[in-house]
C-alpha cells in the first residue's frame, strides 16, 4: 500500500510537469491546428536557461546553504522569459511564412526546427547529461512511509499557481478572450477586429513560458538534464494533450496527470522497460477509440 501511494505521488508530480508542457501544445494546436514539434525543445531551453541563470547568480558559492528564494524566483522568471522569446521567434520565422501552405509543410517545418534546436543545443551545451544546480535544497520527510520532498511539493505548488494563473488569464483578460475566439474560428475573429497575429504570438509566448517552468521543475526533480531531454518528454506531453482532448486546456492538465500516473505505475508494477512504451500505447488506443480525447468534442468536418 505504501508503495502504491509512493508511486502515485511520484506519478502525479511527473504528471504535473507533463501538464505544464501539454498546455503549450494544446493552446497552439487550438488556434493554428499545428503540432508544434519544437515545443519539447522550448522546454529544454527553459531548463538550460535556468541552469545558467542559477550559475551566474552564484549558486555555486552557497555550498551547503540554501539558495535564496528570491533568486530562485528570478531564475524561474528569466527562464520563462527566455523560452517565451524563443517560442515567439520560432513562430515568426518558421511557422508564419507557411501558415497558408498545405498542412504537410508546417508539419515538416516544425520537425526541422525541433531537430535544429536539439543539435544546436548539443553543440552549445555539450551532449553530456549534466546535474542540475540545487536551486532548491532537497529536504526529505516521511508521511506514513511515503517519502515526500520539498521539491515534489514545490512542483505541485508551482504547477497549481501557473495553471490557476492561466485560467484567470484565459477567462478574465481581454487577450485571453481573444485567444478563445481565435481558437474557435480564426477568420471570424479577424473579421471582428482582433489582431490575430498578436494573439498567436501571445499564445506561443504563454505556452513556452509554461514549458520553461516545467523544465526547471524537471531539473530539480530528475536532477539530470541533457540537450535531448525535450524529445521524449515533449512527445509524452503531446500524447497527454491528445489524451485530454487537444485544444482543450483542462484536457491538457488531466491528460498530463494521467500520463504521469500511467508511466509511474507501469514502471513500478509492470516493468521499467516499458515506461516509455506505455505512453505510445495510450496514444494509439485513444486515437482509435476516442480520437477527440477525454474532454474533447467531436467536430464535424465540412466538405
Amino acid at each position: 500500500m505504501v508503495q502504491l501511494l509512493q508511486q502515485i505521488l511520484n506519478g502525479l508530480s511527473l504528471g504535473s510537469i507533463y501538464a505544464l508542457i501539454a498546455l503549450g501544445y494544446t493552446m497552439v494546436y487550438g488556434i493554428l491546428k499545428l503540432i508544434n514539434f519544437a515545443h519539447g525543445e522550448v522546454f529544454m531551453v527553459g531548463a538550460y536557461t535556468g541552469y545558467y541563470a542559477a550559475i551566474s547568480l552564484g549558486i555555486e558559492h552557497y555550498g551547503a546553504a540554501s539558495f535564496p528564494l528570491l533568486l530562485a524566483l528570478v531564475v524561474l522568471l528569466l527562464a520563462m522569459a527566455a523560452s517565451a522569446l524563443l517560442g515567439v521567434t520560432i513562430e515568426l520565422f518558421a511557422y508564419r511564412p507557411v501558415r497558408s501552405a498545405p498542412r504537410l509543410t508546417p508539419l515538416i517545418t516544425a520537425i526541422g526546427v525541433s531537430l535544429l534546436l536539439q543539435n544546436a543545443a548539443m553543440l552549445l551545451f555539450s551532449p553530456n547529461p549534466r546535474p542540475y544546480p540545487p536551486i532548491l535544497r532537497e529536504v526529505r520527510f516521511e508521511l506514513g512511509g511515503v517519502i515526500v520532498t520539498n521539491v515534489k511539493l514545490t512542483i505541485f505548488a508551482v504547477a497549481i499557481v501557473l495553471m490557476l494563473g492561466l485560467h484567470w488569464f484565459i477567462q478574465r483578460t481581454w487577450t485571453g478572450k481573444a485567444m478563445r475566439a481565435v481558437s474557435v474560428n480564426l477568420d471570424a475573429a479577424r473579421l471582428m477586429g482582433i489582431d490575430t497575429n498578436r494573439i498567436i504570438r501571445s499564445t506561443f509566448a504563454v505556452g513556452s513560458a509554461l514549458a520553461a517552468a516545467g523544465g526547471i521543475l524537471f531539473g530539480l526533480d530528475q536532477i539530470m538534464v541533457s540537450p535531448l531531454m525535450g524529445v521524449l518528454t515533449g512527445l509524452k506531453a503531446f500524447v497527454a494533450a491528445v489524451l485530454g482532448g487537444i485544444g482543450n486546456i483542462r484536457g491538457a492538465v488531466l491528460g498530463g496527470l494521467l500520463i504521469g500516473l500511467a508511466e509511474q505505475l507501469t514502471a513500478g508494477y509492470l516493468s521499467p522497460d516499458y515506461r516509455d512504451a506505455i505512453t505510445f500505447v495510450i496514444l494509439i488506443v485513444i486515437l482509435i477509440l476516442r480520437p477527440q480525447g477525454l474532454l474533447g468534442v467531436v467536430r464535424a468536418e465540412k466538405v
Binding site: 508503495q3 548539443m122 555539450s126 546535474p131 520532498t149 539530470m224 541533457s226 514502471a267 513500478g268 522497460d273
Partner: protein, 392 residues
C-alpha cells in the same frame, strides 16, 4: 517564381556539398582528423575511431587525449623504429554504421598501419569485423565484451574483459564485504551493462551469494524511484549497478532520497569525473572496479597522471590510462616486429609479454586479451580511493 525557388534550392544543396568538400573547418582541438591523402614518407599512421560527439563523447575524447599524449612522448624520443607516429581520429558518433564507415575510411583513405578503438564493445565489433576482413591489426583500449577479440586474430585489446571484471567484484562483495544478498540494477539498453551484470551474477551465486531481485532501466532514464522502491523491499544488502556514470550518479541520489542506504557496486563504466558531481554524497561508501587508481603509488602511473594534468589541466580517467597504454602496446609491438607489415605486427602484438604500462603489467594471452589485475576503488569524500588490487 517557380524557376527562382528551384534555383535557390539547388544553390542551397550545392552550397552544403561544397562547404563540406572545402574542409576548411577545423574540428575542436584534440579531434583533429588530419589531412586526407598519402601519409608522408616513413610515417606510421594509427587510425583512432571513437565517439567524439554524442552522449558517450566523454569516453572517446578522454581516450583520444591520452593517445595523443603518448604519441607526443614517443615522437619526442625519436619515434618508433626511426619513424614518427601520427594519429588520425574519426568520429563514430556512438553509432554502429558510423563506426564501420570510419574504419573503412581509415583503411582506404588514410591508409593506416593499425587501428585503435573503440571504447564501446558494440562499436568495436562493428569496426573489428572490417579490420579483420582487411587484415589490419586493431587494438581496442577499453572494450570489455569478450566477443570483441573473438572476431579474429587481428583484433586485440589492452583491458580486462567483463567475465573477469564481474568475478572481481563478486569476489570482493563476498569475501571482503561479506555480503550475502546483492540486488541487481542493470541498463538493458547497454550491452556492456548486460554482459557485466551476467558475469557478476554467475560469479556471486557460485560463491554462495544470492540475488534477491533484478531490476532494469534504460540509458537516458532519469527516474529510478520505481526500481529503487522495489529493491528496498527485497532485503538486499547492496546493489550491483554495472552501468554508465550518468545514470549511476542519479541512481545513487534516488536511493539516498528514498532512504535506501545500501552501498552500490559497479564497474569501469562509473569512471568519469562527472560521477561525483551527479551522485554527490549519495555515493559515499560505494565501490567500483577500474583499470587504474588515480591515487596509485606506481611510478609509471604517477608520471602519466602528472603528464596528463600538465598537458590537459585535468586528471585522467581509467579510459585515458587505457588509451595511453593502447598506444604504448602498439608502439612496443612495432618495435619488436621491426616493421608495420600487418602480419608481422599482428604476431608481435600476440607475443606481448610483461610490458610495464600505466595500468599494470600486460601479457597478451592466446585469446588476444591481456592478463592483468583490476583495482577496486572506494568512494569517499567525493573521490575514488584505492581499496584493493585483484590479480587474475
Amino acid at each position: 517564381m517557380d524557376r527562382r525557388s528551384l534555383v535557390s534550392l539547388i544553390a542551397a544543396l550545392g552550397l552544403s556539398v561544397v562547404a563540406s568538400a572545402c574542409k576548411k573547418v577545423e574540428p575542436a582541438a584534440g579531434t583533429g582528423s588530419g589531412s586526407a591523402g598519402k601519409p608522408s614518407a616513413g610515417e606510421i599512421v594509427i587510425g583512432h575511431y571513437g565517439s567524439m560527439t554524442g552522449n558517450t563523447a566523454h569516453f572517446g575524447q578522454d581516450t583520444d587525449k591520452a593517445a595523443r599524449l603518448a604519441i607526443e612522448q614517443l615522437n619526442a624520443q625519436g619515434g618508433v623504429i626511426g619513424r614518427k607516429l601520427r594519429l588520425v581520429t574519426l568520429d563514430t558518433r556512438g553509432d554502429g554504421a558510423e563506426a564501420a564507415n570510419a574504419v573503412s575510411r581509415l583503411i582506404d583513405v588514410e591508409k593506416v598501419h593499425a587501428l585503435f578503438g573503440e571504447v564501446a564493445s558494440s562499436l568495436s565489433l562493428a569496426g573489428g569485423r572490417i579490420a579483420q576482413r582487411r587484415q589490419i591489426p586493431m587494438v581496442s583500449p577499453s572494450s570489455t565484451n569478450p566477443k570483441v577479440t573473438e572476431v579474429g586474430d587481428f583484433i586485440f585489446r589492452v583491458c580486462f574483459i567483463d567475465p573477469f571484471q564481474g568475478k572481481v567484484m563478486a569476489t570482493f562483495a563476498r569475501q571482503t564485504l561479506k555480503l550475502d544478498k546483492v540486488a541487481i540494477l542493470k541498463d538493458v539498453k547497454n550491452d556492456y551493462s548486460i554482459g557485466l551484470s551476467d558475469a557478476f551474477k554467475v560469479a556471486f551465486v557460485a560463491a554462495g551469494g544470492a540475488i534477491p531481485v533484478e531490476q532494469s532501466y534504460s540509458a537516458g532514464d532519469t527516474d529510478f524511484s520505481a526500481q529503487i522502491t522495489a529493491i528496498k523491499g527485497s532485503g538486499a544488502q547492496a546493489i550491483w549497478v554495472p552501468g554508465y556514470y550518468s545514470e549511476v550518479g542519479a541512481i545513487a541520489r534516488t536511493a539516498d532520497r528514498l532512504g535506501v542506504k545500501l552501498p552500490l557496486l559497479g564497474g569501469d563504466g562509473w569512471d568519469a569525473p562527472d560521477l561525483f558531481k551527479i551522485g554527490g554524497q549519495a555515493l559515499t561508501g560505494s565501490y567500483f572496479s577500474n583499470h587504474f587508481a588515480p591515487d596509485t603509488a606506481a611510478p609509471k602511473a604517477q608520471k602519466f597522471v602528472a603528464d596528463f594534468k600538465a598537458k590537459y589541466a585535468k586528471e585522467p580517467t581509467g579510459l585515458g590510462a587505457l588509451g595511453y597504454d593502447g598506444i604504448w602496446v602498439l608502439a612496443d609491438a612495432i618495435k619488436r616486429a621491426g616493421s608495420t607489415e600487418p602480419k608481422a605486427l599482428r604476431d608481435a602484438l600476440a607475443t606481448t609479454k610483461d610490458l610495464e604500462v600505466v595500468t599494470g603489467k600486460i601479457t597478451i594471452d592466446k585469446n588476444r586479451n591481456p592478463e592483468k589485475s583490476a583495482v577496486v576503488l572506494k568512494i569517499e569524500d567525493g573521490k575514488a580511493k584505492f581499496a584493493a588490487l585483484v590479480a587474475p
